[in-house]
């Protein structure tokens, strides 16, 4: 009979070791620390970008399509706007879209996963079939159609991504729920007459949260990536500067074959921000997910 003293579900729970214990474990992985550093950098960029930007991003302050100079460190675009300033202003919306979409995915996916895992049998099965269907439908075409119908705003991008991205979390949460359900203290709780939602929320959820957290970080990475693609394809709001939007303008204005600084700057930002979240997500996953084998 298993006791709570060694939960086989999660090798680690925040509630047991506290934040210092967590940091000790996390910092063992150098890659994870690098990822975290990068992530912090970009979050700071999002928060402080507008304050340190040298120019107003929408003002035409220079000649069009200038390569990087001392005045404009990353050059100018086809309207004469300073690319560095646009980059700094664009960090915030680019990140927010990712967070928002991932947040919704996480909530929806977790609820579906919890329900499917807790209420096995017909209902649970049906939920999983539903999830599987969404997994098979190709993601980008679906997001494109959704985005087209909802209109060219950041909000529609968030919804489109969330509607497609919840499935991964759902599957993970379901399998975790199934494992936690087996534990003795859950059974005894049920046997002593606790109501279902009590069991779910005070026993199962705390044990599942760490894994959801790790997974959501990865979902953020994916969401930022998808947001960039959707914006590039023209589904974003042209009056809001995001990194994807910058690339869209670069492409539609025909500047791509000449202005390498215009293409590289936002692209590198996207790549590194996605990389940073991925690294952090994988490191968290290695700590929290009992299924991830140690190297």
């Amino acid at each position: 009979m298993q006791t709570t003293s060694h939960l086989p579900v999660s090798r680690w729970t925040a509630y047991k070791k506290g934040w210092t214990g967590f940091w000790k474990e996390y910092s063992r992985n150098r890659i994870g620390v690098v990822g975290l550093a990068l992530l912090t950098f970009f979050v700071l960029m999002g928060l402080l970008g507008p304050s340190v930007a040298p120019y107003d991003p929408v003002a035409a302050v220079g000649d069009i399509l200038q390569p990087p100079t001392a005045l404009h460190l990353l050059g100018t675009n086809e309207v004469g706007q300073d690319i560095l300033s646009q980059l700094l202003y664009g960090a915030q919306p680019s990140l927010i879209v990712g967070f928002a979409a991932a947040g919704i995915s996480a909530v929806v996916g977790s609820l579906v996963g919890l329900m499917a895992g807790y209420y096995e049998g017909y209902a649970g099965d049906l939920l999983m079939r539903f999830t599987d269907v969404f997994l098979v439908i190709p993601a980008l075409p679906l997001m494109v159609v959704l985005g087209a119908i909802l209109g060219p705003t950041l909000f529609s991008i968030v919804i489109a991504i969330a509607l497609v991205g919840w499935t991964g979390t759902a599957r993970l949460v379901r399998s975790q729920t199934l494992s936690v359900k087996q534990l003795a203290f859950v059974e005894s709780s049920k046997a002593s007459g606790a109501r279902d939602y009590y069991v779910i929320f005070s026993h199962i959820v705390p044990n599942v949260i760490p894994v959801i957290f790790a997974q959501t970080v990865l979902v953020i990475a994916n969401s930022i990536l998808s947001a960039a693609v959707l914006t590039f394809l023209g589904l974003g709001n042209p009056s809001t500067i995001t990194w994807g939007q910058m690339l869209e303008f670069a492409f539609t204005s025909g500047a791509v074959t000449t202005a390498w600084w215009y293409v590289m700057s936002p692209g590198l930002c996207i790549m590194f921000v996605v990389l940073s979240f991925s690294l952090v997500g994988y490191s968290l996953d290695a700590i929290f997910n009992p299924r991830t084998k140690k190297a």
């Binding site: 075409p141 494109v144 690339l247 492409f251 074959t257």
Partner: protein, 324 residues
């Protein structure tokens, strides 16, 4: 092969397709702004055309009747009329689909071959420099948006290698014969960059899964038994490790198809490859909803069918399912 298995998979596929069709139907009706009307009132449609569509799709009938008509129409291939082309959507889609298939098929074959090869090496020499190099490059490539990778390759390819900027074939009267060697070379030259973009994006996943699968297999007991028999390393790797590790790859190829399609949309847009991905982009720009919807349907159904075929293939390759 287990007939139950095949039937079960077929049933699932049909159910999924059905779901997609239904989802598609309601998508245009549930959302605010009555986008459904958008499907059938294209700018410049003649009165007769509008009436014809009205009766075909039952636009003034109750919802459930519309749904039935929609299913009927879809099954016979009537996906509406395009705004921009004024012709049936399916007629526009099919040739474009062929072009995409050429691109995706080539890219998938190359990616799978590379993925298996590199995955085997990475797994065999685990922890070595090669393994590390593969992992790092895979992670970096995965963090890049496909279209951005395409942009970089476009830039480099056109300026430094003189590859064609766009399209699938050069618009040259002399190359009118598609089977002439010159035409084939021309096609290949146009295909290099978009194919490379897709391959770089897809291979990483295959390498990862192959390596992971291989490492899992190495821990299995039967590997020890095989080694104890004193067979050669080559035979060990081929008959025992690879044959077992490669099984998950078949299903992976199908799963990846969804991703591949997404990559194709971006790649075709960048390189103006006249496939269904570019058509999606163009339909998006012009808000040609019938075509947009048609692209989504066709692509979704194609992916579902490919998944089904992959499941069948897997069922054939794995003796545990084959002899069930």
């Amino acid at each position: 092969m287990g007939i139950e298995y095949a039937v079960k998979k077929l049933g699932q596929s049909i159910a999924t397709i059905f779901f997609v069709l239904t989802f598609n139907f309601f998508l245009f009706r549930i959302l605010p702004g009555n986008p459904f009307a958008l499907l059938f009132r294209g700018p410049g449609f003649s009165r007769e055309l509008v009436n014809q569509l009205n009766s075909q799709f039952g636009l003034d009938q109750p919802l459930w009747l519309q749904y039935v008509k929609y299913l009927e129409n879809t099954l016979v291939g009537n996906l509406g009329i395009s705004y921009t082309y004024r012709s049936p959507v399916l007629d526009i889609l099919i040739p474009r689909l062929m072009n995409t298939v050429i691109l995706l098929l080539t890219a998938t074959v190359i990616s799978v071959a590379l993925g298996i090869g590199m995955g085997l090496i990475a797994g065999w020499r685990r922890g070595g420099k090669i393994d590390l190099a593969f992992s790092t490059s895979t992670l970096l490539l995965y963090s890049m948006p496909t279209f951005w990778l395409g942009l970089i390759l476009l830039f480099v390819g056109v300026i430094y290698f003189g590859l064609p900027v766009s399209g699938m074939v050069s618009l040259n009267g002399e190359l009118a014969n598609p089977l002439a060697p010159a035409s084939i070379v021309d096609l290949l030259r146009h295909m290099v960059l978009p194919c490379l973009t897709l391959v770089l994006g897809l291979t990483g996943e295959y390498v990862l899964i192959m390596k992971g699968s291989l490492l899992d297999v190495f821990t299995e007991d039967y590997m020890l038994t095989a080694k104890a028999k004193g067979i050669s390393n080559a035979k060990l790797l081929r008959d025992h490790a690879f044959k077992n590790a490669a099984l998950p790859m078949t299903t992976l190829i199908a799963i990846n198809l969804g991703l591949a399609v997404g990559g194709a949309i971006q790649t075709e847009t960048i390189f103006t490859w006249p496939g269904i991905g570019l058509l999606t982009y163009q339909a998006l720009l012009t808000r040609d909803y019938p075509v947009l919807q048609g692209c989504f349907l066709v692509v979704a159904v194609a992916v579902i069918l490919m998944n089904f075929l992959a499941d069948l293939l897997y069922g054939y390759l794995d003796p545990r399912i084959r002899t069930a």
